[in-house]
Structures are given as C-alpha cells and as structure tokens.
Amino acid sequence: MFVQDTLLNRLKRGCETMAYPKGAAPALPDRHGGALRVDAARCDAKCGACVTVCPTEAIARPAGKPVALDLGRCIFCAECVTVCPTKAITRTGDHRMAVRRREDLVLGDASKEQVRLAQALDEKLRRLFGRSLRLRQVSAAGCNACEADTNVLGTIGWDLGRFGIQFVASPRHADGLLITGPVSKNMELALKKTYAAVPDPKIVIAVGACAIAGGPFIGHPQHHNGTSALLPVDLYIPGCPPHPLTILDGLLRLLGRLDEPTGIR
C-alpha cells in the first residue's frame, strides 16, 4: 500500500532541502547571467547603441556622464550586453540583486558600477520579524511567472518555512505585503484595501520588474508602473522573473539572516 511506500521512500531520500544559506548557494543556470555591471571607464560618451535597443528604456544617456542603467526597469533580456561595442555592460553571474532604496538599482556612475545590496531592517523591526515573518502575497496584474517563482520557495527544495517565513491567507495575520505585477488600475482599490488591512508595523516587498517599474508594459495607461506609485516599498527585487535564489537572498538579507558581509562593492 502506498503508506509504507511513501514512508520508505522518505527514509531513502532523506532531507531534500538545500544547505543554503549555511552551505553554498545553488548555481544559477549558466545562461541566466545574473546581475549586470556597468563599467563607466569603457563606455564612451558618443555611442548610444544600448539606449535604442533596450525594450523598456532602462538605459539613459545623461549629458556628459557615463550611461545610466536602471536595473529596476531592466527585464534582463541582455540585448544591451550583445550590442555594446566596448563591452561596457557585462553580466556578473551574481544572483544578489535585492535593494532597499530605488536609487540603489541605478548603475553607471563611477562608484556605482553594481547594485548596492539591501541592508537589514532597523533594529526594532528586525527584533520583531527576525525569526517570524508572515507575508500576504498580492498579484496586481502579474503574469504568473513572479508568482510561480515566489511559490516555489515554499516547496521542499527551498523550504522558506525553515526561516519562519510564511505566506498567509488573511492580511490580518500578515506582517507585510509581497507584491508582483505592475499594479493595474483595476487592482488599485484591492491593493490599497489589503495594505490597510495589515496591522502595523508592516513592510512592502516589490518582486519583479513589473512591480518595480512596470516591466515590459512600462508606460501603459492601464496600470501605475509599479508599486511605489501607491505604497512605500521596503525591498526591491529586480528580475523578469527574479530567480527564486534572488528572492530568497532578498528576504534573508532584509531579515539580517545572511551573515556574509553585504556592502562589499
């Protein structure tokens, strides 16, 4: 009967949860490429190849300054990497991209070649949510890819529960919102009511390029180009969709559960 079968199978396979963050992080798919890096020295002021090719106008050319790449609007299509003649924009293969402030995602200036990674919450919030964080997920016009990769964190491989992080049904039980999708006008009322229903103190996490700046649909009149138009956001996790490892890294970084030094660059 399947009861013995399942129990035996269980003993054979043992614990299938990954060792991360204690052990090494699982490798990103080799063609994924991870975060982007802008090498200001290599970018010569006259060339604008990458600006025209970017589908979400994430790259701007401020006069006299090196190119400014906004990773929040980037959907990681890597068109700019292939088209840049001097290889100024490169892929670092690094999964760590979550930031606390929106401007930390803009790369290009001399000291800001790469993403300034998120600092943990302040002492009070970290003491409160450090070991028990319950999030209410709201899909505001998300295309179901960011939702799927947030959902996969609950499966046995990633096992979000071991950090005390849990997705709950009612906003009353939640400590914060995890928002995906460019926040369509049709979802505006629902998102505001959900945010109002969460008891303080609460945090807001924007997952995916859509939730940060509108993603591939940037500029459409049907939505608000991301969450920051409506709610104060505490954590931005870029990507289209962000790899589960990136989302998990962002959450753990937010709660200060990652012991390795953050601000290395």
Binding site: I156, A169, F217, H223
Partner: protein
C-alpha cells in the same frame, strides 16, 4: 477533403491577403458563422476590426475534422448586431468583448456584462446574478485570494454549503497588450508576447513568431522549429506536474504535493538549461531561436529529463493509489461532453470531457507536422478526469522528448525576418498546456500591425468552471478551480 463552405480555408500558421477574405453583409455573415457552428465546427476567434468609424467583424473557425481553419468577415457596419450567443453559447464572451472594445451592441445577448473593465470603475462592480430564496446568501471571494494566485472575483449564490450559481468577474490583470501592439511590432512587443501569460511563454511567443513568419512569407529553420517543440513540451511537463502537486495539495495529500512541488522546479530548470530563464524568456524570436544548444547541453538535458520523469512517475503513483484522494476527486465538478462542446471548451478541460481536440493533432504546424503526440482523452469530465488527462499528457510529452532528443536535426536556428506583407491576415494556433492559443495578425497598408488579436485558452474555459460548480459543495470550489487552473492574465490581456 474539401467541404463546400462559403469561408476561405487556410492551414494553421499561414497568411492570406486581406482582400481574399470573403465578405458578406452583417446578417448573412452571422448566418454563415451560425451554420458552420451548427455543423459542429469550433469558433477560435471573433473580433472587430475598426474601419474609420464603422466596424468589421472577423470570424476564425477551426474545422477540426477537416484539419483546416476558415476565415470570413462582415462588411463595415455600426450601431448593433444580432447576437450569436442566443443560439450558440460559445460566442458569448467574444461578443461581450466586441461590445466592450468597440461599443457595438449585440442585440438580446443574454449576459451582456463587461469582460475586463467596468468603464472606469474597475471590475466586479454592478449587480451580480442573484438567486431568490429566503435562505440564500452570497459568498464573495474577492480579487485577493488565499495563497499565491492571481486576482479574480467569484460570486457564489449558496444555500448553506451548496453552491447554486457561480459568477466569475475578471479584468483585474488588464495591462492593455492588444492596444500596445497596434502599429507594431515595436521593441517591447515580443517581450509583451512572452508575458501575456507568464507560465505559457513558449506557446504565446511561438504563435506570435509563426504569425509574423507567415506574414513575412518565410518559415523558421527546421532546427528552430524542433527547439520550439522541445521547449513547448518542457513547459507542458512543468505546468502539468505543478498542477498534479497543487491538486494533491488542495486535498491535503502531502506526499504527492511536496514531491511534485520540487519536480516542477526541476522541469523549469531544464528550460533554463536551454535559454537561462526558467520560463523560456528569450528562447523563441520571430525568425527562429537565437540561442542554439550544443550536443553536450542536449545530453545533459536528456539525462536530467529521465530522472525528473522517474520522480514524477513515483509521485503520481501515490496519488492514484490513495483511496482518500480518489473519493475527493471523483464526481466533483462534473461537466458533460455536450456542455463542453456547446460552450467551446479547449485543452485538457475539453479532453477530460471526452472531446478529441488538440491543435498538435488537428492543425499541426512547425515540428508537429513531422512528429506526432497522441491526444490524451478521458471520458468522465470531473476533477479525476482532468487530473488523469494531465498525467497522460506528462507521459506522452516525456516520450515525445525522449524520441526527439535521440534524433536532433542539424542546421541553423536563426534566420533574418523579411518585411511583413501589407494588407494581409495571418492565423497561428499553438497547443499551449492549457489549450489552444490563437493569435491573429492583420497588417495595414504600410506593413505595420493594424490589428492583433490574442485568444488565450482560458478565454474559452472560464465558463466551464462556472458550470462545473453548480450544485457542488462550496468547500470543493478550490479543488475544481485548481483542476481547471486557468490563467487570469491570459483572459485579461
């Protein structure tokens, strides 16, 4: 075999000039469409093409038995048109959409309500259908659902625990893709096609690519078509495994739920092996597939595919073996074959009612012309049947991938795409994992896209869920909902 029909026939993934599309006065056009539907044909698309301030209605019919498509259009008209829905239920959502997008009123349409937005006030407003009776109470499960799922509004009319009527109001995910594509293809169009429904990226992008290639008069290189077929089946495997796990999770059967959660991640990583993105972003482009795969990568894909298929075999075996699961699945959310045919269900939901409908079988295009995937059908039309159809498709997709990975075609994977022919219409159908994805592209005088219509399989199937819930216990709704597992953003575009 040719059938005497007034419509112009064309094969899937091909184009014809806008003038070749037969044209009739409005009532005659609707009469012809009604006649074809009475003969048992299926309506794949019915949409409006504005001409000045007047409007033409274009119909795309799928003659499954004849393995061909058919198109026809009405002369420009304005004001209102007699609704087909009175006699053919499968046209009901199309006509509501025409009313909402173009303002022409379908006369005596039995259920004329907005499809995506309520003219500025957001969806799910206004009067819902009410059952009268003193003990009836409404249960409204609003846009924000429990768990991680897209928003949609379900209004139940209940007598205690029993659901008498379910009305579904969507539109929360509306991002305005069709409006953005007109005048395209722009820089962002292909990325928007990839995110029409995030979990059906390959199907939608392949349909988009086929349509543009048809308009350009070319075809993707064979190896590219092969790579697209591989990616399509990987996407199907990942989603069906995820659904089996979710169905087990909804009845709290932990062994299969936990195992399938992990195995779905493995299948997504196989797609990531091909293109770096777990959902196949960047794998398919009009003109072919930009990223080629060397032999070593394919053998690694083959090896990891075997382990994943073995694991899903084990997990599914537990599911079918557990009696407590079976009592929950059987006779829940039942749909008859006649109902499924009348409301025009597609995909696994239709095949679970015994209808033999599969675009890879009826209208093969791309690599499916050379390699056949048998159609998975199950007769009963309840949750158990939908789960079994998913399990059969996992096995058959697995066999197809094994067979194809052993015989890899050679050649280029990317060819430059010539300019699109002006004033021509292209229809591309692809069997996504939820069912038939239908893209119709119409170019204007200057070769840019004058009108682009996307029909996600969920557009056909949401009515099926509303029907399946009648006279069911409300505690079985999540199970029925997950057995359909329809896309909200695919419907809302």
């Amino acid at each position: 075999m040719k059938r005497d029909t007034p419509f112009t026939l064309l094969t899937n993934g091909s184009a014809l000039s806008w003038s070749d599309v037969p044209e009739w006065p409005l009532t005659e056009f609707l009469g012809n469409v009604g006649a074809e539907l009475d003969r048992g044909e299926r309506l794949s698309g019915l949409f409006g093409v504005p001409e000045g301030d007047a409007l033409r209605i274009v119909a795309v019919l799928a003659f499954d038995a004849g393995n061909t498509l058919a198109v026809g259009r009405s002369q420009p008209f304005s004001g209102s048109f007699p609704a087909l829905t009175a006699t053919h239920a499968q046209a009901h959502l199309f006509e509501r959409e025409i009313w909402e997008q173009h303002g022409v009123v379908p006369e005596n349409h039995p259920w004329l309500k907005p499809v995506r937005k309520d003219h500025g006030a957001g969806p799910a407003v206004g009067d819902f259908f009410r059952v009268d009776g003193s003990e009836i109470h409404e249960v409204a499960v609003g846009p924000v659902h429990a768990g991680i799922i897209e928003p949609g509004h379900f209004r139940f009319q209940c007598a205690g625990e029993e659901v008498l009527h379910l009305e579904i109001a969507l539109g929360f995910q509306h991002r305005g893709i069709e409006e953005a594509v007109t005048g395209g293809p722009h820089r962002a169009t292909v990325y928007q096609m990839e995110t029409v429904a995030g979990d059906t990226t390959i199907a939608h992008t392949t349909a988009y690519a086929n349509a543009l290639e048809a308009l350009a008069g070319t075809e993707a290189p064979l190896r590219a078509q092969w790579l697209r077929a591989i990616a399509l089946e990987l996407e199907r495997l990942a989603n069906h495994t995820g659904d089996l796990g979710a169905l087990a999770g909804d009845v709290a059967f932990l062994p299969t739920a936990s195992a399938c959660g992990k195995i779905r991640g493995d299948f997504l990583n196989l797609t990531a092996l091909l293109c770096g993105n777990r959902f196949g972003r960047g794998l398919v482009r009009p003109g072919g597939c930009p990223l080629d795969c060397d032999a070593e990568r394919l053998s690694q894909l083959r090896k990891r595919l075997e382990t994943a298929l073995a694991e899903v075999q084990q997990a599914a075996a537990w599911l079918w073996d557990a009696a407590s699961v079976r009592t929950r699945f059987e006779h829940t959310g039942h749909l008859h074959a006649k109902q499924a045919a009348e409301i025009g269900l597609v995909g696994p939901a239709a095949r679970a009612c015994g209808l033999v409908r599969d675009v890879r079988f009826d209208h093969p295009t791309g690599w499916h012309r050379f390699a056949q995937v048998p159609v998975s059908v199950w007769p009963d039309g309840d949750v158990f049947a939908r789960a079994r159809v998913r399990w059969l498709e996992i096995q058959r997709s697995g066999d197809f991938l094994r067979e194809q990975l052993d015989a890899v075609p050679e050649g280029e994977t990317m060819a430059p795409l010539p300019a699109l022919a002006p004033n021509s219409l292209a229809v591309a159908l692809v069997e996504g994992w939820r069912g038939e994805v239908c893209h119709v592209a119409l170019t204007g005088v200057d070769g840019t896209l004058r009108r682009y219509k996307i029909t996600d399989p969920s557009f056909h199937n949401w009515t099926g869920l509303a029907l399946a819930l009648r006279n069911q216990a409300i505690s079985d709704f999540p199970l029925c909902n997950k057995s359909f597992n329809l896309s909200y953003c695919g419907f809302d575009l």
